[in-house]
Structure formats: C-alpha cells, structure tokens
C-alpha cells in the first residue's frame, strides 16, 4: 500500500494536480458544499423516521425528495475525494483517520440504504438505526477533517508519529 501510494504520488497526474495551486482548495470547497447537501439529506431522512420532521408527508415522499440529493451528493463527494486522494495518496493512506472514515462511510451508506428500504415502502424503520445512522455520518465528517491531524489525534498510534 505504501509503495502504491508512493508510486501514485509520483505519477504525472498526481504531480499535475499537486502543482495546480487553485485546484485542491477548489475541490475541497466543492467537497464541503456537498457534505452540506448530503448531511442535511441524511438528517431529514433520519428525523422523518423518528417522526420529528416532515410528518405531513409520507415517508416515501420524503425519501424521493432527499434520495436524489444523497445520491448525487455522494457521487460528487466520491469524485472530488478521489482526485484529492490522487493528489496526496501518501498523506491519505498513512492516516488512521482516513481508513476509519472509509469504514464509517461504508457503514453510513449501508445504514441509509436499509432505512431507505423501509421509507420507500412507507414501512416502519428502526429508530435506533436512524439515530445510529446520523451519528455515523457525523463521525464521517469528523474523521474527514481529522485526516490532516493524524499525529495530533492518534498520538503514538499514528503511522506518522
């Protein structure tokens, strides 16, 4: 993995991204805007399951209102994230927070898919899972930001320490 990251970081594509000064802040900005979209979509879906928002609408209506935000948002996040990884693979792959974020992201996506199944059919969904889903997504955002601070956050556990 380390070798792969170092190889990737030395590719012309990676170097081109690294040396275009405005590209990384631009991609990060788009990434954050999309986090806003996706997080609020998750928030409202979770609140609908809990009966705390949009109770005047059927769960299936709320799902079809926010699922497109989620799906498109996640796609843009994946694309911008991918380019950011290509630009600095060593930094990402050696960060504990990066792998934890990816793991939590997989959990968060699976959890929202499970909730979606129930919401689409207007069937009752697990309230516990709904709360957990929201917490997992909050954790995804936290560890995303923490990638830049691996030594500070993980101390001696960090591979960079």
């Amino acid at each position: 993995m380390q070798h792969f990251a170092q190889w990737l970081q030395a590719t012309p594509l990676s170097i081109a991204i690294q040396s275009t000064s405005w590209l990384i802040p631009l991609l990060q900005s788009i990434h954050i805007v999309m986090i806003g979209l996706v997080f609020v979509a998750v928030l409202l879906l979770v609140l609908r399951v809990l009966g705390l928002a949009r109770t005047d609408e059927l769960p299936s209506v709320v799902w079809s209102r926010f699922a497109p935000w989620l799906r498109r948002g996640v796609i843009v996040l994946a694309l911008t994230g991918l380019v950011l990884i290509i630009s600095e693979p060593v930094r990402e792959f050696t960060a504990i927070s990066f792998w934890l974020k990816m793991l939590l992201l997989a959990l968060g996506l699976s959890a929202i898919a499970v909730l979606g199944k129930a919401l689409r059919r207007d069937a009752p969904a697990s309230r516990g899972l709904a709360v957990l889903t929201l917490l997992v997504w909050i954790a995804v955002i936290f560890f995303g930001r923490a990638i830049a601070y691996d030594v500070e956050v993980w101390g001696a556990l960090s591979f960079k320490a």
Binding site: Q2, S21, R91, T94, A113, E152
Partner: protein
C-alpha cells in the same frame, strides 16, 4: 418517483480496500503547495516565531556560506526565510516554542520549499531542528548539528540538500 439507493457495493469495495491495505511502514506527509522533491538546508538567525495552532512558523535570516554574516539583498535588507511545521502544540512536544528558540538564536533546518518560489518551506520529514550554543556559529559550510553543545528539537538527522 421510485428512487432506489444502492451504494452498499461501494461500501463492500471500500471495506476490501481497507483490509488489503498493509500497515504502512513509513510515516509520510505531504503538502501540495510545497515541492517535496526538493530539500534546502539552512543555518540562520531566528527573527520571530509565529506560534499558529495549525502550523507553527519560524522566521530566520540564513547565514552566508562562510557563516560570518547573514544574507542581505543589495539594499542591505536581511533576506528572511520561513519554515513551517505542524501546529504549535505538536511542535511544543518536540520542544519548539517561542521560548526555546528566541530571536537571535542560531538554528539549522532542512525544508521543502514552496512551489511558488516564495522564501518559505515545510519541515515535513526533514529531521530535527538543531540549535547552536548561544552565539556560536558553525564552521564555514557546516550546520549547527556539527557544533559541540548543540540542541536537537525533534527526531532524526538534518536531511541532506536535494535539488
């Protein structure tokens, strides 16, 4: 509109990727604005420390190769360089602070310069910062790590210069 949402597969792939990732053996860190392929080594006089929480910056004026004066522009102004590193809390754990490196201190540091050409660079992966004993400059062409009574802040030898 019946919107299906199937991204579980992405999750599975991510998990597999995670599992496939061997423990990275080396610690590396990179910042795109710096040219990590290049390393410059300086010995200079500290002028100021900006203890920012996310990146502590040390400002210094490099000495000439003879170590008998500092670099100045044609109009006599000192040519100041900056080196930045991890946040002040992390730097403090290596003993680097406003108090340990006061203005006038002689230090040696290796850095990866900015791509923009501005006189600043990153200390990532370049070893310790060496502090000469008070007002004792190293011999011509040498750095503080060769001076008896030096102090090291951080780990590792001073990285070698690389173009």
């Amino acid at each position: 509109m019946n919107t299906t949402f199937r991204l579980g597969r992405v999750g599975v792939v991510t998990l597999l990727l995670g599992a496939a990732a061997a423990m990275p053996a080396l610690a590396h860190h990179s910042f795109a604005i710096f040219n990590m392929e290049q390393t410059r080594v300086f010995t200079g006089v500290v002028t100021r420390i900006n203890p920012d929480a996310n990146h502590l910056q040390i400002f210094f004026v490099p000495m000439n190769d003879e170590r008998k004066g500092v670099l100045r522009s044609e109009d006599g102004k000192p040519m100041v360089w900056a080196v930045e590193m991890a946040g002040s809390a992390q730097a403090a754990s290596q003993g680097i602070s406003v108090n340990s490196l006061p203005p006038g201190t002689y230090i040696s540091v290796a850095l990866h310069p900015l791509r923009s050409g501005e006189a600043a660079g990153s200390r990532a992966e370049t070893g310790a910062i060496y502090r000469c004993p008070d007002k004792k400059a190293p011999e011509a062409g040498k750095h503080c790590d060769t001076v008896e009574g030096r102090l090291a802040f951080g780990d590792g030898p001073l990285a070698a210069a690389k173009d």
